[in-house]
Symmetry: C2
Subunit: 353 residues, 2 copies
């Protein structure tokens, strides 16, 4: 087991893991993750916003600055997208050494039906000027990282903001956003890691120079070492996950399974290119799984493989390959911040005769 | 800070903290906890149940054994109760030494509006015989603890099962239960720690001898040492919690606050007796907070205290006292399993001038 070598954890890491929440892997069975099971990562505190008092300010390098109420945003043409979202830090706690942050193992993922209006409907009304290169998205969540006090903010290149499926979303799974998911309005950028989809939006600003806020210029970068400014993260790497078969014990969560025919199941997704293949490893031998396309380009695909489980201890694994030929690695792709670690999942199961 | 001395944690504890979820303390501002922010503790895997296939079997020492469909249960008279629920293990990670289990700090709590029918409507129809002493509640969640394989099951003394407010609940906050909260039907025992409110109910059985299942006879007991069989847990001890004021940094979550008038706010609850008093400690000096009754006997009460915050570092705390005169302790009430630790919360805040 890779995981059992990665310890110990600090009090502060456990405090983060208690606030934030992963999706228990048995929830991979749902096409749409029940709202309360969707992963959640909140940097600072969940802000409290009265929808009636809330305004979205659209400004910066635009011809017609706007101040919109929630009703005004919700009066724009609505669309719904089924989107799998993953935290950029998923897998951090499976790196060694790991950086001090939320200690994700595998569970920082979920799929939801998001309803909103295309971002470009709002940007078009504001008249983004031609010399703009990015839109900066600012949320109401306020705090400090490395002594830099700021409202959480991220930018997106102008080309991405023109996509029809990039939403200003007010509903998740058919209901108004719960506070922790960005109420009353959040950004939703299908295919990108979750840090991009800014929650609790308060401002959109067109800019003519690359945004250098903390969450853009310092956080969410692939750094080789502390002195390396690093490359920014963007789209999700390919990843397959498996529902651990059998039943667990508590608190260790070792798995036990009765011998016989077992259908191994899970999901796979990728932001950079469609998922092309999922393989399941049985004691180190790879088998192609059956793959069922997801509900849209950025929704996860379901996979399954029938396994004749024989008594004894077995190591199961799964790995995805995308249409560009990228396959999940069997060695963690290390970087300073512990980002985008799509190391293959392993599940050890004791099969009883 | 009490907490920072309690480390390190194992990989397995972090894996549990990632699956289970606390309520971020800023959510103490809501009378009703948004569903996705309610605490959650699942021993084994969340079972998958098709409501149409589900049946509730009522048997054991009864005159008229029953097999009920969900529609039949939902046709019984409905009532809604606003109930604060807390995990018996809340505070475990603030004990030293602590037992190996879910490493809760303070956040294992939430308040919801639960809708269902009084348990006794179902028991009366089954005709529980007079020599019965307990009802055993069995869930669909299956696993092993200490090599004892079992479906999660707990019992309740007959007197408690006769309470009108003990529910078989099918709705939480006005919507069908999400899977992780016990869909399609769960028990809800206001005032008791959460382990009592068995999720994913499949069976109710009247018994004439004390139930000796693992979760009753071994787990959830106040043990002095491993050889002590211990006393069983039942109702929640008094506890007050505070919304940490100011803003946090990430990932350390230290608090910063601007000097001036600050309203400190939080909630308090108790299962054994009503909350009679909440005090707020400012650098070790206790002040009586203003207390607003909750939405029913077993819903948390809101409290607040106005504080003139002066520059410098301050230690804030809060403690509840119940109508029986029990007050939260300033030393953790240790026991082997790390149960019911209602040690006073402390929040350190740096006030800037």
């Amino acid at each position: 087991m890779i995981e059992s070598t990665v310890a110990p954890f600090s009090f502060e890491e456990v405090a983060l893991a208690t606030r934030n929440r992963g999706m228990p892997l048995e929830a991979l069975r749902y096409d749409i993750t029940p709202t309360g099971l969707h992963y959640l990562l909140v940097h600072f505190d969940i802000p409290y916003i009265e929808p009636a008092d809330w305004r979205l300010r659209v400004g910066g390098n635009v011809d017609h600055p706007q101040t919109l109420t929630l009703s005004e945003v919700m009066a724009l043409p609505a669309r719904t997208e089924t989107v799998t979202m993953e935290c950029a830090g998923n897998g951090r706690a499976r790196m060694s050494p790991r950086s001090f942050s939320q200690p994700w193992l595998l569970e920082a993922v979920g799929t939801a039906e998001w309803t909103g209006t295309s971002l470009r409907n709002v940007l078009d009304a504001a008249g983004v000027r031609d010399d703009s290169i990015e839109i900066v998205f600012t949320g109401a969540d306020h705090g400090a990282q490395e002594d830099v006090e700021h409202d959480y903010a991220r930018s997106l290149p102008l080309a991405e903001t023109a996509r029809d499926d990039v939403l200003l979303a007010w509903e998740m799974n058919g209901r108004p956003l719960e506070p922790q998911h960005g109420a009353p309005l959040r950004l939703l950028v299908p295919g990108w890691y979750g840090m991009t989809s800014v929650k609790w939006l308060t401002r959109l600003d067109a800019v003519t120079r690359p945004f250098d806020g903390y969450q853009q210029s310092r956080a969410y970068r692939f750094q080789r070492d502390d002195d390396d400014p690093g490359e920014p993260l963007s789209r999700m790497r390919v990843r397959a996950l498996m529902i651990p078969p059998g039943f667990p014990d508590f608190p260790e969560r070792r798995r036990t399974l009765a011998a016989g025919t077992t259908i191994l199941r899970g999901r796979a997704w990728c932001g950079t290119a469609p998922v092309a293949k999922v393989e399941v490893g049985i004691d180190g031998v790879w088998h192609d799984a059956e793959l069922r396309p997801g509900a849209g380009r950025y929704a996860w695909s379901e996979w399954q493989l029938t396994w004749e489980a024989t008594p004894g201890e077995h190591v199961l694994s799964c790995r995805g390959t995308d249409a560009d030929g990228c396959t999940q690695p069997d060695v963690a792709p290390w970087n300073v911040q512990g980002m985008a670690n799509n190391l293959v999942q392993e599940v050890v199961v004791s099969v009883t005769g």
